[in-house]
Symmetry: C2
Subunit: 430 residues, 2 copies
């Protein structure tokens, strides 16, 4: 029975797989809210800020655009993206090397689909890299970093791992993400240089997921493509720095010598998503071209996120939770292990039980460390400090000169729910 029976015909790589953890927690929170419950949404990593007005206006202007655009992307957009990476990241990007997709997640899926090699993931890592590999049937190897390493891979750890493999030159794709989801930290230029050297030595292809590059809290994001241009694909998009997650536009930028890989992805794109929504692409041209208004928007966004992230870390640290001060994005990766004995006494033995119980007891939704590739029995979790009205906070910040600090009560006035969520976690754990 292929239609009705229990003996349904599903691809074994998909059977039993759960929906993406971040999307699932979001839909669950929305349901709880509809049921009248108070929920603090620190689960989904969505920018709370509105799309900058000039970009929204560009979408309105281009609403009648109805033609199928080129598979690789609208030429003007590819030029704007290449220029963006040249200007912001000082890398030698060319419009020919840009591929536009409906979100960088879709592009990562197609990359894993067309590239035939092993996927190497330093953990904690973003939730979707692993399930994508599972759906496609690719081998994944995890390299667990530690709290002491600031949850960051080092060149030394890479080399140690590769040297204990018997097939040193197996085709491998390593995915780096910085500023990082789930940890909100990034690499120094020196760390990137050493990782680049190791990647070159072992001929590892790098997917450099820099979607939070413009959300390095104090600016100064570096791309590893500066040090390993021939082996690095830069991933970016509108979702995070531009507040346009729901618009669905991601970008990959390839060096010339990887055109074979880009072309294969474009073939797969032509048989799947075809091209990205035309009005969205036209609007995105304005986003990547940037300009004074967008830079001001970014400065305000960074200022708010930095102050809020530092305060959240401070509250958690005060409750004996191990967490680093953030340097970018809008995440903290917290280690509750100092409270392991107490948690065990209440029946909490792993990260899934931890986040489940926290949600039930306090209404604070976070995501367990296991969703980020960590060992299941580790008491870690990601907190996305985005549960506030970004439009309102942005408007308030815009009333305060950028060279002045935000006032002391800024967070309690404009980000109250996020602070309240941190306080609830601190109270709950103690």
């Amino acid at each position: 029975m292929s239609i009705n029976g229990k003996n349904i015909s599903l691809n074994m790589n998909v059977r039993g797989l759960k929906p993406s953890a971040t999307l699932a927690i979001n839909e669950r929170c929305n349901e709880m809210r509809r049921a009248g419950k108070t929920v603090y949404k620190l689960g989904l990593g969505q920018s709370p800020f509105p799309v900058p007005e000039p970009i929204v206006e560009a979408l309105r202007h281009h609403a009648p655009e109805k033609d199928y655009l080129p598979v690789k992307g609208l030429l003007d957009l590819c030029e704007a993206v290449a220029d963006f990476h040249r200007r912001k990241d000082h890398v030698n990007a060319s419009p020919d090397g840009v591929l536009i997709g409906p979100g960088s997640k879709e592009l990562m899926f197609l990359l894993q689909l067309v590239y035939y090699g092993e996927i190497l993931l330093p953990t904690p890592c973003w939730v979707s890299y692993m399930p994508q590999a599972q759906i496609i049937g690719r081998n994944v190897k995890l390299i667990h970093t530690t709290y002491e390493e600031r949850w960051r891979i080092t060149a030394e750890r890479m080399v140690d791992y590769l040297e204990q493999e018997d097939d040193t030159y197996r085709p491998r794709l390593m995915i780096l993400n910085y500023p990082g989801n789930p940890d909100g930290d990034t690499y120094t230029m020196e760390e990137l240089q050493r990782i680049a050297e190791a990647a070159r030595e072992y001929e590892i292809l790098l997917l450099s997921d820099e979607i939070y590059g413009q959300l390095a809290h104090r600016g100064g994001h570096f791309s590893i493509a500066r040090f390993y241009p021939e082996g690095t694909i830069i991933s970016s998009g509108l979702s995070k720095w531009c507040g346009a997650g729901g618009w669905r536009l991601g970008t990959f930028t390839f060096p010339k010598n990887l055109s074979w890989l880009m072309d294969a992805m474009a073939v797969a794109a032509s048989e799947t998503f075809t091209s990205v929504s035309a009005p969205i692409q036209y609007a995105a041209v304005h986003a990547f071209r940037g300009g004074r208004k967008i830079e001001e928007y970014l400065s305000h966004v960074r200022r708010i996120l930095h102050k809020l992230g530092m305060e959240c870390a401070h509250i958690l640290q005060g409750a004996g939770i191990r967490v680093h001060n953030p340097n970018g994005a809008f995440y903290l990766f917290a280690d509750f292990s100092p409270h392991a004995d107490l948690l065990r006494e209440t029946g909490i033995h792993d990260s899934r039980e931890l986040s489940e119980r926290l949600l039930l007891d306090t209404g604070v939704a976070i995501l367990p460390g296991v969703d980020f590739g960590r060992p299941p029995d580790e008491l870690t979790a990601r907190l996305a400090y985005v549960n506030f009205d970004g439009a309102e906070a942005l408007a308030a910040s815009e009333g305060i000169p950028l060279d002045a600090p935000l006032p002391d009560d800024f967070l309690s006035v404009h980000c109250a729910d996020t602070i309240e969520a941190m306080d609830r976690i601190a109270d709950w754990i103690q």
Copy 2:
């Protein structure tokens, strides 16, 4: 060498695959035009008509929508789509059974990815079903129909095929497309009833691609879901009847008993495209809800397409080319075999040579039959009669009451290039 060398690491299912034929011919035509050549674009099957103004206005209105929407789709849109199929196709559709994707092509890919079974394709069939199966590594079986059968599969042909297979109840997915790309014809209600009976008997899952349903030239489209609800997925979208191909929004509608398949697709969606662009989904609600203005738009579009399609067929028939009068969509599937001897003398032995030479000799771009699953040495081709200014033709039609016929000179005034292309083909072949 995984990065630079010739020994590149590509998935064998993708290696050597060409970009989608329709998109490739479109990009080639655009390049030829940029180089100053006169090209008649009968290659890409894009609606020439603008998106109806109320729907464009809805996109403008919803431009600031920035949230990630539910994976399966915006609830209001799922309701509008279910209602659309209930109203238009008299099928029992429910919002819970609707899945929204960035184009129906992407949804078809995910269906082939998660369903574990053989793909059964009556040919001529749309260009992307087969390459999708190849990328995923699925088995495809073709059932070739004939000119005399109006390029349509019959229940008898299905049963004959299935009975000669030794594994009669293998899980199978058959894809039907009506009104059809590439042939512009459709099924009668009786034909659909008999196909439905055969599909039920052999437990075949049907993907019923009805994206041209609203472009049945004289209305009255029937869905096979009326006769085989438990085994039919209806595929539709904005691209064809709404002129919004470049917007990228497709829909699948499932019966309740296939929720296992829909849920598996939603999991794959959550790890790939995430959700469809939010502003586009909000605008699409208005499209599927319909209303007087949209129905009038459709009446004008159908009137123009029918008159033009009949005239194109007439010109080709007059030149001894075998082609049926169209009943829907904007395609003709032409069989040049009456001229086989003459073509052979000029070195044309198959459909690829036929379309290539026609483009070089006359500037008319069409797609060879082989791209639609036909035997390579068959002298067939698809002609998309869409090379005219749809906005201008629509405005002209709107000046003429719908109960009056279009004037005799309508086509020579408003669709001159398409008629010229047909004349060029007729001259060329003779």
